[in-house]
Symmetry: C2
Subunit: 432 residues, 2 copies
């Protein structure tokens, strides 16, 4: 029965796209996963491995022989092979390298020599390059003969000069509708070069801005060493966005579907503990006004409103600034104008909120002065919130710190402190 | 002098990539922009228009003659042409349509007949399709002869059956390295079909998951009507992520670089006014405990800490849930497990925070009972925060509401209410 089930399972798996099998493995519990893994068709395995989350990939690899791992890596383009290889344990890495032919081994070692999150890591070494004097016909014939050395898929043919520097690109779809006797030099379009040490976020920005499908990667001396294709860029864009969203939400580490509960604790606790420390800034402020609160206990009810609504406006300003910074819409050129826009909108939004809050306060407590105090405190706090929500992420970015990471804590610190201080301070002066 | 400057300007603009010119226009103030626009080379104008923000595009178009607009639209692929056309004013639209040849006119009208944010809007109608029995050689010859009707760039040749339904695809790079006499039927790979009415977010998900470069779009009867390419998808992914980040930060509308100050106020004020209403839930709770606060004023200092740190944990849980929902990692299949993981991690993180806060409280106020009360309140509030941060976005998603949009307000409402109520309530019972 077990064997029959296995065969049916194999049939099912055969019908699935490799990305769906990877998804399936992610959703199964570990026990089921162990049952399924041996039945995955070996030709699908190469495609599946780069798709898996780290810990599931580890499980799958544990179930494989060294020779099989080596074979799978050779089937992959060099960027995917390096990514899978990198996560192997050290002795596994040695064994796998030993089981590979010289050239493949070198490809992986070279790829891993580049720093993480750079273009060098991201690129695949397989490219289609041709000199400018080649004709369309010659180029097509060359590709027919050397199909095995070419990348699995490619979209541009890079035109190179005698020193192997890229000087242009011919999209495959352009090459193919052109007469055979035209030289590449007449077809080629300008290229946007990527250098091996460029940061992957920078690379993603260039792809997005220029709507690139692929781009040539050059080494320090400008020679063509590989290419990056847009499908890798989509993953990076998603990863960077994910990092921004999580960081703004105060989840410091990259928490995923398969993070254990201890991992969740580790990713969230540090931020909350720092938050606890900054929260005591508010406690100190409130403590200083204990006498006033005892005299007029309604202050205690209203003060959190001033702090929290100011904090929310600060978060709005912060979110817009962080987003503009990562989309490179906020630069030194428009920093002053942006800050000024934020402050003015802070006054306008603050004025509306202050008017609303003052009206409600007057209706409930029939105290015109109290209504004035809370309106004044809101205006002060919104000004501070606009400044903090803009200047803190700009400053972080200038210092090379991720603006999404630390900024929320400091913005909240400013709006809490100012919220309590301005409201209780104004109350002490005007009401008591 | 003015004319000389103009010519130098034209030289500069000639050297720039169209995406850089678009960026430049975005950074210039309106006065400078008006000076620059007339000098943009007319062949670059077609590429620039789809890149511009709406209001700048409007300015550029105002400076153009109807005939020129009609010409520019004909140069663009149908998706870009429709996007530019859509933003014209109604009488402009009519004039431009009248100035276009029949076939181009039809293309734009058909494209705009699809609903916004669907695959129909996103696709370009130009595709390269061929029957399965064609050979590689015949296909290449056909493309050489009919170059003008083909899309500007394409990456896959769609293989169609006699009823014009796509049955497979041959990547251009595969076609080109194959011998001329092989039929397409032997080369073709399975396709992932998109239907015209599919939501663009869904389309982006499919592209990302299956690492697609292009995909065929079919109508209700399954016939090939267009294709979508990955460069459009990159824009959608960015737009969707941007929407998520802004919504989580309480910026309800899509605020961009060029939103006026009144636009900023409109995008932020509604959220803050709703927030003002929910904040009064806390005011009511605190009001009910005025007697206790007067008796023991330290409660007023400490209560905001319980509320705000619970709110921050709720935001963490919410951020992770929203992110998992939009990455489709959180589904009905693992909802219970996710909720349970969140609650357990809430207890663990809460226990650490409670211990720290209790210790600090005891050190400052030497009151063991007070320390116990604040620790207990933190544990209650973290449990509620974990539940609210997970269940609220799940519920919103189930109801078809954007989970990033309304959830933050309700999560904060829960953690504020529970924070003040649990702390002041426990204090009333145990301390007074």
């Amino acid at each position: 029965a077990d064997r029959g089930d296995g065969l049916r399972l194999r049939e099912l798996l055969d019908a699935l796209h490799y990305a769906d099998i990877a998804d399936l493995l992610g959703f199964l519990s570990q026990d089921y996963r162990e049952e399924v893994i041996p039945w995955i068709p070996s030709d699908a395995l190469a495609d599946i491995l780069p798709e898996l989350d780290d810990d599931i990939r580890e499980e799958v690899i544990e179930s494989m022989h060294t020779a099989d791992i080596a074979e799978v890596l050779q089937e992959l383009d060099s960027d995917d092979a390096a990514a899978v290889f990198e996560d192997l344990e050290e002795d596994q890495q040695k064994a796998v390298l030993a089981a590979m032919p010289e050239s493949e081994r070198e490809a992986i070692v070279t790829s891993l020599a580049y720093e993480e999150e750079t273009a060098g890591r991201l690129m695949q070494r397989e490219v289609m390059a041709a000199p400018a004097f080649w004709t369309v016909g010659h180029t097509i014939d060359h590709m027919r003969e050397n199909g095995d050395d070419l990348p699995e898929l490619f979209f541009d043919i890079y035109v190179i000069d005698p020193s192997h520097k890229p000087v242009g690109a011919v999209p495959v779809s352009v090459l193919m509708r052109t007469k055979r006797d035209l030289p590449l030099s007449q077809l080629m379009e300008p290229i946007t070069e990527i250098t091996v040490d460029q940061d992957q976020e920078e690379v993603a920005y260039v792809f997005e801005k220029y709507h690139l499908i692929s781009a040539p990667v050059v080494d320090e001396s400008g020679r063509l060493v590989g290419q990056i294709t847009v499908d890798d860029i989509v993953n990076i864009i998603q990863a960077e966005n994910r990092e921004d969203i999580l960081a703004l939400g105060g989840v410091s580490d990259i928490e995923g579907r398969d993070t254990g509960i201890m991992g969740m604790v580790k990713s969230r606790l540090p931020w909350l503990l720092i938050n606890l420390a900054t929260a005591f800034a508010s406690v100190t402020v409130i403590n200083a006004f204990q006498g006033e609160i005892v005299k007029m206990v309604v202050l205690a009810s209203l003060m959190p409103v001033v702090a929290s609504i100011g904090g929310n406006f600060g978060t709005q300003a912060l979110t817009v600034s962080v987003r503009a910074l990562s989309a490179r819409e906020l630069t030194a050129a428009n920093a002053t104008r942006t800050l000024w826009r934020e402050v003015v909108s802070g006054w306008l939004v603050g004025a509306c909120v202050a008017a609303g809050l003052a009206a409600v306060t007057f209706i409930f407590w029939h105290d015109l002065k109290l209504a004035g105090v809370i309106a004044g405190a809101i205006l002060i706090n919104f000004t501070m919130a606009a400044l903090a929500g803009t200047l803190i992420p700009m400053g972080a970015s200038k210092l090379g710190i991720d603006p999404a990471g630390a900024s929320p804590i400091f913005v909240t610190l400013v709006t809490d402190f100012c919220g309590f201080f301005s409201f209780l301070g104004l109350a002490a002066i005007i009401l008591l």
